[in-house]
Amino acid sequence: MPLDDEAVAEIYREHGPMLRRVVWRATSDANRVDDIVQEVILRVWKQAPDAENLRAYLITTARHLIVDQHRAAGRRPQQAQLVEIAERDSALDRALDQVLVEEALGRLQTNHREIVRCLYYERLTVAETSVRVGVPEGTVKSRAYYAVRNLRVILDEMGVTR
């Protein structure tokens, strides 16, 4: 069934590298990365291959898989307290969001990313950024505008809707 192969390979080529980075950074377990990514792609391919937003679906599936495995690994009968599980899950959610934001920044155009770094992370002013980057202030402003816009679109696409 060459069709299946093609569909799976295509999902992998398109989203595999991103998924690997996300899973790697969320689990820090190189041995599990490929297994998890493989499972995610196979599940999505079986269940909702024509999902409208495949990227978000893949990421959500990865999130579930990681949470499940996390739980299974950490579960000890006498200490499986709900509070602990909830805490661990929210820590994991945070870690995943962090990874996704980093991933989103990585997908931003370089000159937009540069503006985000200067304005947001380095707390430079528009004027200082203009000097640092070597473009007029007007350009810094319009790049900041598009950077913010695109970042929102990329995050939405990944299913990060907060």
Partner: protein, 238 residues
């Protein structure tokens, strides 16, 4: 619209990220009070700072100087290799499925020999019609070739295409009865049979129709092509 309003809209980016001069900040805040598009847009992006904070003071690996270090510690053999591994897994899972089917086919073959008519139930992966709708070609598709029952020489190929709403059934049949009604029945795990498509026989004995069922492919236990009077012409277990 006042002449400077285009310039003002654009300040939204630096308003969210920070870094506007006091004058610009004041001007944009003023503009925001009356500009609905900017208000809407701000509503959509106002959560960004909190998300950006998650990426840490360094802005995460993508903002760090060594952006290439993002996957540090992550083994990186060529991607092709991983695609190969993935496809091997696909084929392994498919094989599991096919082994089971072969078992059934073998049992059916015995029955056919007993009946004296070898009609060779075939469970092969066939190449789907290339002229099909293009949207379908990237969807996961399972092909089954329905085995003709003794005394029938029909040839039926059914592609089960996974859809969000259930399963699309692309039916290709040859050497069919030349008159009367024909129907594709879908039988679920509880033995409940429903019609997924019905059509009128053609003089050529050949037809190509598409049916639909709310069942997902894995919920379909078997498929049967029957005549209007209920006579089973071909069947397939999935």
């Amino acid at each position: 619209m006042n002449p400077g309003s285009d310039d003002l809209h654009v300040l939204l980016g630096a308003y969210v990220l920070g870094g506007l001069s006091d004058d610009d900040h004041r001007a944009f805040s003023e503009h925001l009070r009356t500009c609905v598009p900017c208000q809407t847009e701000l509503g959509q992006v106002s959560g960004l700072p909190r998300l950006l904070d998650l990426a840490g003071p360094e802005g995460g690996p993508h903002l760090a100087e060594a952006a290439a270090g993002v996957a540090a510690g992550l083994p990186t053999e060529p991607d092709n290799e991983r695609v190969t591994t993935l496809l091997a897994e696909v084929s392994r899972r498919r094989r599991r499925r096919r082994t089971w089917i072969t078992g059934l086919a073998a049992a059916a073959a015995v029955a056919f020999f007993v009946g004296g008519a070898w009609l060779g139930p075939r469970w092969t992966a066939t190449t789907p019609p290339t002229a099909g709708p293009t949207a379908t070609s990237t969807l996961p598709t399972t092909h089954v070739e329905a085995a003709a029952v003794p005394g029938s020489s029909v040839r039926v190929d059914i592609a089960l295409v996974t859809r969000g709403w259930g399963t699309q059934l692309d039916i290709d049949c040859e050497d069919m009865p030349k008159e009367g009604e024909l129907a594709l029945w879908v039988i679920d795990a509880n033995g409940r049979a429903t019609t997924a498509a019905s059509w009128r026989a053609t003089a050529a004995g050949y037809s190509k129709v598409t049916g639909a069922t709310a069942l997902r492919p894995n919920e379909i236990r078997s498929l049967e092509v029957r005549t209007g009077t209920g006579k089973v012409l071909a069947s397939a277990r999935t």
